[in-house]
Subunit: 419 residues, 2 copies
């Protein structure tokens, strides 16, 4: 199957430049990017009408199936929200819940130009099925903690890394505050055995950091590093309350810091010092977190806020370069999701591509396409999402998902969960 | 012309309840809201398929034609941005610029379910033409200041209040920091003559307030009230840096406080204490401000941030009721825009109605429709916008605007402005 996109504007994300030209897809891979050449030998040809092709977003931290909890328990601090609302409902979740609520999340991801979820959640066989049927990528990260998941981690890790081309898995665990030192050491041993990076919620709230210091006289980053968890790198989700030594560790270990500003804002967790991470040269990306705390999976809103919310941390403007954050979301994150080959619009890369509707008024006038996307983007500007060479969303229609069935099942299942 | 919406969910905004039923429109007015009755005698019948009808948003503070400056000069403090970037370009604006860039803004407004702009800008004959041709409402407010507009204010005020059913005008001026006491007194005299409210940028930055205190030993709110400006009420845009006496004045004078969180965030102006205004019982609404500082006219983003951004003002969550902000935007703002009869989905009110696409994944599951809209809404969920009984936007199509022509003209004109 060969597909030709022509009359396109192209933001390859290898640099800031936007070029005019064509992108050819051969099966799952980008075959050619450049000026118009041949018009023969294609199975399908799509006139982009000047619209923009760019790499998809890779949602660098989320809990997909948590769509069940959207608008269910708003305006609570993280610990109260987790302990009194979320954990009791999560205890009731079965295969069907995770399957249908992951499908609902995927619907929202596709509208946002997201091709991949770096997804920390349970009952992975159910989300696997949802992702594979949808043609969507999941890079799992374990949410193991003292309540479960540690013993099964190795088996799960091996299984999900051999299962399907759209699925892979990373080592990880929920957080220091839910995981004993003994369990953290088991995870560190696995990291050592597989020479693998470890990903974890890290320093989301002040309370979490203070309590960790109380236990270990070290921050979460420091105790985890001390246990050898980051000998092969890894990353942290949230990264709100960091001290100088934490930054040093992230730098030394070549780790990824993922920002989740909407969730932090809603739960009053604080504001990450995005500028400091950039100035330190640490790799960064952005995630939506789950729909329970965000409450949407609107990647554009998190991208925008990661860029402008740090302005209120101190006096004056943080002056964060919007390209660096956009690049984090399209092209840096995937380095940490075993998707080195799905980062750019470039021959040889996987065809994970979105089309931005340049006729959307929010994208006009074209003083700067990158600034327009970061400061004025919303799901409304996404015209098409292609994953692994397959168009899965176009002009409001889902080509691999049954919208009506998903919505009916999700509403039925959430009513049962609330009983 | 009689139109029947059936199979609808209805959020009238008279209260929080969502009902099932029908909405009939007779010419420009809502004729009936309630359960299914007749099916004969209609010129058009629209099956809502369970989607939600609710009152449109009324953008309570904006500078529509500033779409020219989107992504043009980002990340500067307010005073530098205005003086070095915006004012020099605004000096070059002519009828064509304001006409086409207002049309571009209206395209974006319609996608956001906005029926009315409380619009402070110049060359109003041009924006009039754009609004009337589009079937869009503008409630002007004067941006008079020491550089112009004060002498013409009375004539403009009278003209735009008699001109067209979609257009009206309020007294106002740009801000204390751009307007001498002498000119402010002239405006106060007009307020007295016409027993009219006055609207103005107020306490947007700390610097503005401090300098005003330096000049008058009073805050902007206090000096303006002292001059008799608010004897017949009015309102303030931004309202970020208020003291106790300022709140008292807003309360005593029954004034509207309009929040512009995206603009404040981008320009590092501070965060309004939305909760305090609510607790004081002051009327509130939300505006996008202009596209130069926001940078989008995504009303959902400002609504969301007005609700959650105050969480970072202090310790803990501000616990702002999302319904109060939604109500401010649909139904409180219009009281101050001479649109008392365009506030609710209710017989006798003007038919300014939007349809929310309940099959959008961000609106699912339906744990709470109001929370879904405020916390997860985006232009992507707006299926239809009706203004004054006329459908002007539906399923991505503009029924009164030529998208291609607008985009071409705006790009041509902005290139000239940049020379």
């Amino acid at each position: 199957m060969r597909l030709r996109f022509y009359n396109a504007s192209i933001l390859s994300m290898e640099d800031r430049n936007v070029t005019k030209g064509e992108v050819w897809i051969n099966d799952k891979t980008i075959e050619y990017v450049g000026p118009s050449k041949e018009t023969d030998g294609f199975d399908e040809q799509i006139d982009c009408e000047g619209n923009l092709l760019m790499p998809t977003f890779k949602n660098a931290h989320t809990h997909s199936a948590m769509t069940f909890s959207r608008s269910l328990a708003d305006n609570l601090p993280l610990d109260v929200w987790l302990n009194t609302k979320i954990f009791p409902m999560e205890a009731k979740l079965n295969f069907d819940h995770v399957y249908w609520f992951t499908k609902l999340a995927i619907m929202e991801y596709l509208r946002n130009g997201i091709s991949t979820a770096f997804d920390m959640y349970m009952i992975r066989d159910a989300s696997n099925k949802a992702a594979i049927e949808s043609g969507f990528r999941i890079s799992y990260v374990s949410g193991a903690n003292d309540f479960g998941g540690v013993e099964e981690l190795e088996e799960e890790y091996l299984k999900h890394n051999e299962q399907h081309e759209l699925i892979n898995m990373q080592l990880g665990f929920h957080a220091e505050y839910t995981t004993s030192k003994e369990n953290m050491m088991k995870i560190a041993a696995l990291a050592d055995k597989y020479k693998a990076p470890v990903f974890v919620h890290n320093s989301e709230t002040r309370k979490e950091v203070d309590e960790c210091i109380g236990r270990y006289n070290m921050t979460p980053t420091q105790i985890m590093d001390e246990l050898g968890m980051f000998n092969y790198g890894g990353g942290g989700y949230h990264c709100v309350h960091f001290d100088d030594k934490d930054y040093e560790i992230f730098k030394k270990r070549n780790m990824l810091a993922v920002f989740n500003p909407c969730s932090n804002l809603k739960l009053s967790s604080g504001i990450a010092d995005v500028k400091r991470f950039i100035d330190e040269g640490i790799d960064i990306s952005v995630g939506t977190d789950g729909a329970g705390s965000n409450n949407s999976l609107n990647m554009f809103r998190d991208l925008y806020l990661a860029c402008v919310l740090p302005n209120v941390r101190g006096e004056g403007n943080a002056n964060i370069d919007p390209f660096i954050l956009l690049n984090g979301l399209t092209s840096v994150g995937p380095k940490y999701m075993k998707l080195e080959d799905a980062r750019f619009i470039k021959a040889g890369q996987k065809a994970d591509i979105m089309m931005i509707d340049m006729s959307n008024p929010a994208m006009q006038p074209v003083n700067s396409i990158v600034e327009n996307i970061v400061y004025s983007g919303s799901p409304d500007i996404v015209k098409m999402t292609m994953i692994n060479g397959k168009i899965v969303y176009k002009d409001g229609e889902y080509l691999t998902l049954d919208k009506k069935e998903i919505i009916e099942n999700c509403n039925k299942l959430v009513q049962e969960l609330k009983l």
